[in-house]
Amino acid sequence: MGERVAIIGAGQTPHRSRRLDVSAPELIDEAVQAALADAGLEPDGIDAIVVGNMEHFEGIHLSDLWAVEGTGGVGKPHLKIATGGTTGSSLAQAAYYLVAGGMFPTVLAVGWERLSDSEGETTTGIVTAFDPIYERPTLAGAVSGLAVMACQYQARTGVRAEEAALVVVQARENAARNPHAHLSKAVTVPEVLASPLLSSPLRYLDMCPTSDGACAVVFTSRPGARRAAWVRGVASRHNHTLLGDVAEGAHDYINTLEQAAADAYGQAGIRDPRREFDVVEMYEPCTWAALEWAESLGLAPRGHAAALWADGTARRDGDLPINPSGGVLCANPIGATGLVRVAEASAQVRAAAGPLQVDGVRTALVTGFGGSFWSEVMILGSEA
């Protein structure tokens, strides 16, 4: 049902720890201009704009108002999306629905964040996203939320910290080719294991950074002759208010991802995800999450995802490259992060990924994570 929808262009800023040379609208404008150029469009070729960040990180409480000069949205249909970590993937889904619904032929999705503006107090900001009475007293943001998940995963599977560490070792190798990446210095397993403990079992190098950056992606029902990545599946599963309801004891912590994947795979006719995807751009906020969630996505049997990284399968030249961009572990401008996954995967499908290009990509899997262990999945393909 609905129009078929293609991605025909994307743009990113370099993601950095502090972009003091640009204001927020200027930062956004960098990504928007790059996306318009990549899509071969002028501003008047955009029919509507969806823009997102998490406004408490900047303390600007109408961030769409603030951003409008950077997006080119003055006088256009303009919608802000802010769903926490999933903001970027929600932007992509909203843009998809707006185009698929037939009312806006071409929609620009714009995600951004300036985490440096809150002087590194990202955890404080994240804590204020949760219930003030029951969960704020204990929660230490995404770090401790993910640590609890990792504890449960470790207890269930017996996977060791050195196995999880391989995820960031490989991510940094990939990021070394990515000019947009925030962190691209090589790290080793012993360095990961010796890095400071944040929240057991998570150490500093297990966790994603906080970045300033922006990303924009053009969705259209009228790609004409342009190289297109077609949206073949879209699914979102948000769940409960309280983390205590999320953690009630499914066989995986984040069953929203398994549910969203099943929905999207059904739409795209994917039966064997391990074989049918040519590349994955996964939202992996920490090393342990990459392992559990690869299993939730059906890329490895339960308890055995570590082998994907250990045996080379997930390498950029492996059988199923996972995050050839370096992923969230190497750049995390939160409101843009999920959209960067879409931008990278669409570039792979469009054979426009430059130094990051994986050979012969026809089908790509994209995920988003956020909120109270919310999950979003998008599948892109070279054919509609």
Binding site: L20, P137, L197, L198, G244, D245
Partner: protein, 157 residues
């Protein structure tokens, strides 16, 4: 436009006050803590039992009309030791570290409850361990979350 020689940043340190209504069910729960009791809500439609109690059932969106008291003990399903510094949004100053918290399933509940643990060495904790709730002395309890001090490892652990 001319080159950027000296980029400028402008500082703002807002201080805001919020006062969150616990509402009917939350007030019941906090009042229960004052009495040293753990109160939950039960759904008549799907029999789900949830703590803290709330209006709408997470399983069926039915109204949870029955309050039930749970034993103050349960099973530890996951835990973490928080060791990094950050500003506590309740106070604006750094939260004391390190501290441990975990997800506890009360006996008779369908969900888990996230709260502090007494133990500060994660090597001494394990998933599946029984734990029990420890309250402030009765005279010091005022009807707030902090009336519940923490969970501590229980017998059989």
């Amino acid at each position: 436009m001319s080159d950027l020689k000296a980029p400028i940043a402008v500082r703002c340190t807002p201080e805001l006050v919020y006062n969150y209504a616990a509402g009917r069910y939350g007030s019941l729960f906090l009042q229960g803590l004052k009495e040293g009791r753990i109160l939950a809500s039960r759904c008549r439609r799907c029999a789900r039992t949830l703590v803290p109690p709330r209006l709408a059932c997470t399983g069926c969106f039915g109204a949870m009309e029955d309050a039930v008291e749970l034993e103050p003990r349960g099973e530890l399903l996951a835990f973490t030791l928080v060791a990094f510094p950050f500003l506590d949004p309740f106070t604006g100053i750094q939260r004391p570290i390190p501290y441990c918290y975990g997800m506890v399933r009360f006996a008779g509940a369908d969900n888990t409850f996230q709260y502090f643990l007494s133990e500060k060495d994660p090597a001494k904790l394990r998933v599946g361990q029984p734990v029990r709730a420890v309250f402030r002395a009765a005279a010091e309890r005022v009807g707030e979350m902090a009336d519940l001090l923490y969970f501590e490892p229980g017998i059989g652990g």
